[in-house]
């Protein structure tokens, strides 16, 4: 695979690493009992601890720790029995303590890896450096008043998992696939809701460029991207910017950048002189976090099937392609839907590929058009199964089935009901089809002449005419065979 991009003078390779910030799915914050509900009125979910009142102390939320361990297991990573919370010191209006509690030297999760799958059937491992727990900051609202900044502390203290990758990513698409895969794993594990719009999952992108085979170049970090689209845009823009500088003889300054979503450009956030010295040190208010092997085993046993396991299972049982299986397992709701559909009728197992296609193309496009999610699909897995059964037994044609699905989607009726009501059963009766063929031949003598003179392509015309007369119900295979025979006569 050629991952190089062309500059004016040379070919360049991107080197990309991601720091994903995933909000831990938990009812309460990392060190306080305040609610984490999204969209509540400003400062309505702030405890004395979150507001850093004098004498207030953090107490670890054990559930968040379990969630982090679960996630570590899902990332095939080493769980550390001993980890330490540190203070990252800096001043900002929405950081009430004047420090963020994070994990620096001893993270709760160590090295791991995730696999991304390409359309061509190949796949690639992206290595994970670490996962650590940390507090989120509050929110500064600069647009509420011309001369004032307001601070909303609802998010202050919410638990985040920072997942740091090695710089193993080489293209914007890989970056997109990597974050999708992480999101998928977290959602299977139910350790993050994966909602990027609400900021539950965001990423900082580290990117540098180099000529193939060279050492890593100097990198820049693009902060706080909350959609896959923006991540790709930002990477593309930033890579071009760096290449232009390098090709014109300049050098890259290590910098923290912000991405402007309306202009599609990156710009430096702060310069070197303002670079922070965070003065990390172990938080003396908290004891080191110790997790026993037994606890880890217990948490491991509670973990559901993960996308890669499920993918391999689908490949093995249903003989699906690696790519089909990975599409199917990318989101838990999709694999759940597939499982329910294929298990709704024992016959369907033989038609797994058809089931995949009907879910990932026909049903998905209807859902997309109607801005719906698979979770609130008007067509239940059982009903889709019934439709596919009708196709597989030749009761209706694939073409008609599309109309039936649309009808099911809007009316909520079952496939059987619609097919019966509208009389859409496929015509397989030879005599009936022959009758129609005779009619078509009789009405188009000139065409028949031309066909017999060697214009084979006209067969399609006759098929179309016959289908028109049967309202698409004629079994295409039988129709074709009979038609060829009749024309030759």
């Amino acid at each position: 695979m050629n991952n190089l991009i062309k500059g004016e003078k040379y070919d360049w390779e991107m080197v990309i690493g991601l720091e994903i910030h995933a909000q831990v799915k938990s009812n309460s914050k990392l060190f306080s009992s305040s609610s984490t509900k999204f969209g509540s009125s400003p400062n309505s979910q702030v405890s004395l601890v979150d507001a850093a009142m004098p004498g207030m102390l953090p107490v670890i939320n054990k559930y968040c720790v379990e969630q982090a361990v679960k996630t570590g297991v899902g990332l095939n990573a080493k769980i550390n029995n001993y980890s330490v919370f540190d203070r990252k010191n800096y001043f900002y209006a929405d950081l009430p303590q004047g420090y963020q509690i994070s994990q620096y030297k001893y993270p709760i999760v160590g090295e791991g890896k995730v696999t991304i799958d390409f359309k061509d059937g190949t796949s690639k491992d992206i290595r994970i450096v670490r996962l650590h727990l940390e507090q989120d900051a509050g929110k500064s609202l600069h647009d509420q008043n011309p001369s004032k900044t307001y601070v909303d502390l609802n998010r202050s203290g919410v638990a985040l998992m920072e997942i740091v990758s090695e710089p193993d990513i080489r293209t914007p698409d890989e970056a997109g696939m990597y974050i999708s895969k992480i999101r998928s794993i977290l959602m299977y594990l139910d350790t993050c809701d994966g909602n990027m719009q609400e900021g539950s999952l965001r990423a900082d992108v580290n990117i540098s460029v180099r000529k193939p085979g060279d050492e890593y170049g100097t990198r820049c970090e693009i902060k706080n991207l909350n959609s896959i689209k923006f991540i790709k845009q930002a990477i593309n823009y930033e890579a071009k910017r760096q290449i232009e500088i390098l090709e014109s003889g300049g050098s890259i300054e290590q910098n923290t950048m912000l991405f402007n979503t309306s202009t599609g450009k990156t710009r430096p956030m702060r310069n070197k002189e303002e670079a922070h010295d965070y003065r990390y040190f172990p938080d003396p208010d908290l004891l080191p976090l110790e997790i026993s092997q037994e606890e880890i085993v217990k948490i491991k046993s509670s973990i559901p099937e993960l996308p890669d396991e499920l993918k391999n299972k689908f490949i093995e049982i249903y003989r699906l392609s690696n790519y089909d299986a990975s599409v199917l397992t990318a989101e838990k709701q999709t694999s759940d839907y597939f499982n329910k559909t294929i298990n709704s009728d024992s016959e369907l197992k033989k038609y797994a590929k058809i089931v995949v296609n009907w879910i990932t193309s026909e049903l998905f496009s209807l859902l997309n058009k109607n801005n719906l999610d698979l979770n609130n699909s008007p067509v239940s897995p059982e009903n889709l199964g019934q439709l596919i059964k009708l196709i597989s037994t030749n009761e209706i044609s694939g073409k008609i089935a599309k109309d039936v699905l649309e009808d099911m989607f809007s009316s909520g009726k079952t496939a059987r009901q619609i097919v019966d009501e509208k009389g859409l059963q496929q015509v397989t009766d030879q005599g009936e089809i022959e009758k129609v063929i005779d009619e078509v031949i009789a009405e188009n003598p000139k065409m028949v002449e031309q066909y017999l003179a060697g214009k084979d392509k006209l067969l399609g015309f006759f098929v179309g005419q016959a289908m028109k007369l049967t309202k698409g119900k004629a079994n295409p295979k039988i129709l074709n065979e009979l038609l060829i025979n009749k024309l030759k006569k």
């Binding site: 004498g55 207030m56 102390l57 107490v59 670890i60 010191n89 303590q97 003065r279």
Partner: protein, 474 residues
């Protein structure tokens, strides 16, 4: 001045020899007579009378019902403002009650006021307070003496008999040293025995609340009331709290006392060495085995302490930024300016000095040489004690290297001031319990203190040794 003890007062209240109102009127009168000592940052007669009213209508039995207690103004209290003796919290009214003051309230005690301290407990003379110096009640006329610090207000409140007990906090000696200077009893329990929840933090890994009282028995009663596990403090210990008072036993026969040779420091006044020797002799007479021990890393304790405590403080005090509560400067054209001016105007010199030291020792490039090394030395110091306690049941040393000094001495010499903590800091770093009891006088008839250190959570042994020495001295 004949002072009634807490123990006796509880009896008198119980037998109705005196009413809660009469008792507290007596203390109120003395508080008003001693306003010149500047013991309290907050005192309101009305507030005290209200508490008396409430208790008079309360028929439930409570252990400390009606007992007047003074609270160091580092403990957050709902009914009284809390300042930490800083301008930055000048008008701060907590909406919550600290774990310890809540326990005291639950037991029915009456809070007479909030006592003065060094700003954010940083000092050894109660002279860095935004609200002015506290004067040691033992001062001669025209020669005001320092009460020690940082809990100088609480020590002075007990010494002047303005209450029957007071809370303090001790980070490097802030209970024991002022107790010694004011001639009262002061105990700093094991780190983790009393919850830090609701106490404005100075140095989290060292801060520990404790008690001032007229005598050891009273201290044992009061410590009992404030000790105990608190799930809101992750460093709070889950240990059984014995009934210290009931278990008091002054028979030390067969016990071993450790006498650390490193505490004989050149330049220590004769009188200090003398009372130390006297204490050892008394113990010997009581059948205690005298064991010379070595705590070899003692000399590193002060520098270690003055790295770790400021490091933690620099971070703990970051929350006072003018954004959420407390003082905010008027000169604020930008966020950075708001921070700079708020903190420049809101903090006093000593607090700023320690924030700067702490920021420095945690900075990139210096962290390993200072903070990390200090943490290692801290472990060595703790190990010294662990080894020593294999050979002895408790350790006896002087509490402070001098008696109370004149108010303005050492004011401009922080190093000299820091040397005050030389005998108290090692036990703080090791998290061990320590008590100071009055034991002898210097040539100016000022009280001197003896410090007794015990094993982790062995407050009972500390009390036993203390009560034994106290009774022999009386």
């Amino acid at each position: 001045m004949s002072k009634s003890s807490l123990k006796q007062t509880l009896k008198d209240l119980d037998t109705k020899k005196i009413s809660i109102r009469e008792l507290n009127q007596d203390y109120l009168k003395r508080i008003k007579e001693n306003e010149n000592l500047n013991v309290f940052i907050y005192f309101s007669e009305e507030n005290v009378l209200k508490q008396i009213d409430n208790l008079e209508n309360d028929n439930s039995a409570k252990k400390l019902k009606g007992i007047p207690i003074a609270i160091k103004d580092l403990f957050c209290t709902k009914s009284m403002p809390t300042t930490a003796a800083s301008k930055i919290l000048e008008n701060f009214h907590p909406t919550y009650e600290s774990f310890i003051t809540q326990k005291l309230l639950d037991e029915g005690s009456i809070f007479v006021g909030k006592t003065n301290l060094d700003e954010f407990a940083m000092g050894s003379a109660t002279n860095t307070s935004f609200f002015g110096n506290t004067i040691n009640p033992l001062s001669k006329e025209n020669e005001p003496l320092a009460p020690g610090g940082s809990s100088g207000g609480s020590a002075a409140a007990v010494a002047a008999d303005l209450c029957l007990g007071a809370t303090g906090t001790d980070t490097g000696g802030s209970i024991r040293q002022p107790a010694s200077f004011c001639g009262v009893v002061g105990i700093k329990p094991t780190y983790g025995l009393c919850s830090r929840w609701g106490i404005a933090a100075f140095a989290s890994s060292l801060d520990q609340a404790g008690i001032f009282s007229h005598n050891v028995e009273d201290a044992s009663i009061l410590l009992q009331s404030i000790a105990g596990f608190d799930q809101r403090d992750s460093t709070s210990a889950k240990v059984d709290i014995p009934n210290y008072f009931e278990n008091l036993d002054d028979d030390l026969n067969g016990k071993t006392v450790g006498i650390p040779k490193e505490y004989s420091i050149d330049g220590t006044p004769m009188e200090i060495s003398q009372i130390w020797e006297d204490a050892i002799k008394v113990l010997e007479k009581k059948g205690v085995k005298i064991k010379n021990i070595s705590l070899p890393h003692t000399k590193y304790a002060l520098p270690t302490y003055y790295i770790i405590a400021p490091a933690e403080a620099s971070s703990n005090l970051a929350r006072y930024d003018g954004v959420k509560y407390g003082f905010r400067s008027d000169e604020i054209d930008s966020l950075d300016e708001m921070y700079e001016n708020t903190r420049a105007q809101g903090f006093g010199r000593e607090v700023k000095r320690r924030i700067l030291i702490g920021t420095y020792v945690l900075s990139a490039g210096y962290y390993d040489a200072y903070y990390l090394k200090a943490q290692k030395v801290r472990k060595l110091i703790a190990n010294d004690f662990n080894n020593a306690f294999k050979e002895c049941d408790f350790i006896v040393t002087p509490t402070a290297p001098s008696a109370a000094f004149p108010l303005n001495e050492k004011q401009n010499d922080p190093i000299k001031m820091y040397l005050n903590d030389v005998f108290t800091v090692p036990a703080s770093l090791a998290g061990l319990p320590g008590i100071s009891i009055p034991f002898g006088k210097d040539k100016n008839n000022l009280p001197l203190g003896i410090q007794i250190l015990g094993k982790h959570f062995d407050e009972q042994q500390v009390f036993n040794a203390a009560v034994s020495l106290e009774r022999s001295y009386e």
